[in-house]
């Protein structure tokens, strides 16, 4: 469903991403790994429309989307999380989820001002969806707490729930396990697998936690210094000499 071809991104003299290609099929979890500063997040920023790539193509369901504005990309069904959690901190947990559904709500000012029955039904629906996902990620009791007051692991889960209420087809997770303890990471592992199995969402994952990556990925792409280094199944990557060199060479 997603096909990235020869993606390049240049900042002034710096070529941050150089000819990176990857593809994601439906019902698949694909990981991007690589040392710090390899350009993984830049790839994400290009895919999610925050950067306009300087070269290459990105196809989503057969349509070219490189350079499409960020908000339109997420409306196509590609939604992302951030390396450093980005929540609306002074809004409550449930409100964070309502904001994310804004585009599913009719934007008509008049019906909102008059509180027409139609408007109320829609509000009710989005509240229901929000509480469904809060329950799913175990935050239902905290629904009316300000998001900024949540613990770090809870914030991570809320960010994923916030993506899920938009009913995406493809979820892009940028280091979702960073800063989580082992038990939280295990929960995350299960959650991601269940997103794929139960909700038919494909996932692109940037992650440093190798056990998580090896465990849940269907395929893995390795990037080093902006260039693609290897790609394949977890087993192939584990035994790839270039990858071992790049990782051990740095250590």
């Amino acid at each position: 469903m997603l096909d990235v071809q020869n993606l390049s991104m240049r900042f002034g003299g710096l070529l941050a991403v150089d000819q990176v290609s990857l593809d994601v099929q439906e019902h698949e979890i694909v990981s991007i790994i690589g040392p710090n500063g390899a350009g993984k997040t830049t790839v994400f920023n290009c895919m999610s429309g925050f950067y306009k790539p300087t070269g290459g193509k990105i196809l989503f369901e057969g349509k070219e989307i490189q350079g499409t504005p960020d908000y339109k990309i997420s409306r196509l069904g590609m939604v992302r999380t951030f390396q450093h959690v980005r929540l609306f901190n002074s809004m409550t947990v449930v409100e964070n989820l309502l904001v994310a559904q804004h585009r599913h709500l009719n934007n008509n000012l008049i019906s909102g001002l008059l509180k027409t029955p139609n408007y109320r039904t829609r509000e009710k629906k989005s509240l229901d969806r929000a509480s469904y996902w809060l329950e799913r990620v175990g935050l239902l009791e905290l629904a009316n707490v300000e998001a900024g007051n949540l613990a770090y692991g809870q914030q991570r889960r809320l960010e994923i729930a916030r993506c899920m209420v938009t009913e995406p087809k493809l979820l892009m997770l940028d280091e979702p396990a960073a800063g989580l303890n082992p038990s939280e990471t295990r929960d995350l592992n299960q959650l991601i697998v269940s997103l794929k199995e139960d909700y038919n969402v494909s996932v692109v994952l940037i992650e440093h936690d190798m056990s998580l990556v090896m465990d849940i990925s269907d395929r893995i792409n390795v990037i080093n210094q902006g260039r693609p280094l290897a790609s394949g199944t977890p087993d192939e990557i584990r035994n790839n000499d270039d990858v071992i060199k790049a990782y051990l060479g740095e250590a």
Binding site: F11, G12, T41, N45, F50, F82
Partner: protein, 307 residues
Amino acid sequence: MQDLLYFFQQLINGLTIGSTYALIAIGYTMVYGIIGMINFAHGEIYMIGAYTALIAITGLAALGIAWLPVILIVALVCAMIVSSSMGWAVERVAYRPVRGRHRLIPLISAIGMSIFLQNYVHLAQGSRNIGFPALIEGGFRFGSADSFQTSISYMQITIFITTLVCMTLLSLFISRSRIGRACRAVSQDLGMANLLGIDTNRIISATFIIGAALAAVAGLFLGMYYGSIDPLFGFIAGLKAFTAAVLGGIGSIPGAMLGGLILGVAESMTSGYLSGEYKDVVSFGLLILILLFKPTGLLGKPEVEKI
């Protein structure tokens, strides 16, 4: 021939005004380069410089001192001292306590300061405009006596030369002196400079002082050039200078000079060929266009959005 002379006259007027805009713009650009805020009260600092200069000139006249160089130098020094102190105090009182907070907070504080200073001078000196003696009279004329003559007054020459001297001194100061080097370091990365033991508070104060001193120079000359001042005249000039700074690329000192000159010429061409009423429209319009199409200005560096 006539048309050409008329054109040159507008060009000369534009460069004169533009060079004073450049002097004021330095203050905006340096402060923005270092702490990323628009010092909205900078125009008022410049206005206070002009008032101080006028007070000094009138005082010297009362004392019977009439030798021009003495008058100019004393007026300049007084204006620079008062403006610099004001610049320092404004930063201490209104900006330092809110540094690092949300972007709008220092800006609102600066707008408050601007309103405060305007009314401070208004209450002390009245709201009517006061005549400013030209001091430097005469000039060169080109063209035949029976048709349009292009004139360059000695005042325009003085303004231009002083601006050049100030700019050269500033460039040398920034590139050679210890404080100048520290200034550059702080504008690159304030936190890092702090870790390396640079007293960033001191450097920020120095920036305000330098910017205010240059604004005071502009205050004296623009006062003489326009022939009158009032408490509101810093506001518009400040906006113009800010436009110049943005035009040249905010944060860049050569950019401020270039921006000032371009803006000055654009304005005087509007006055000369269209109508004086619309020169403000042209400069604000220019500002809006630049911000829309090239927000980094002519010589500024592009910014990459951090995600």
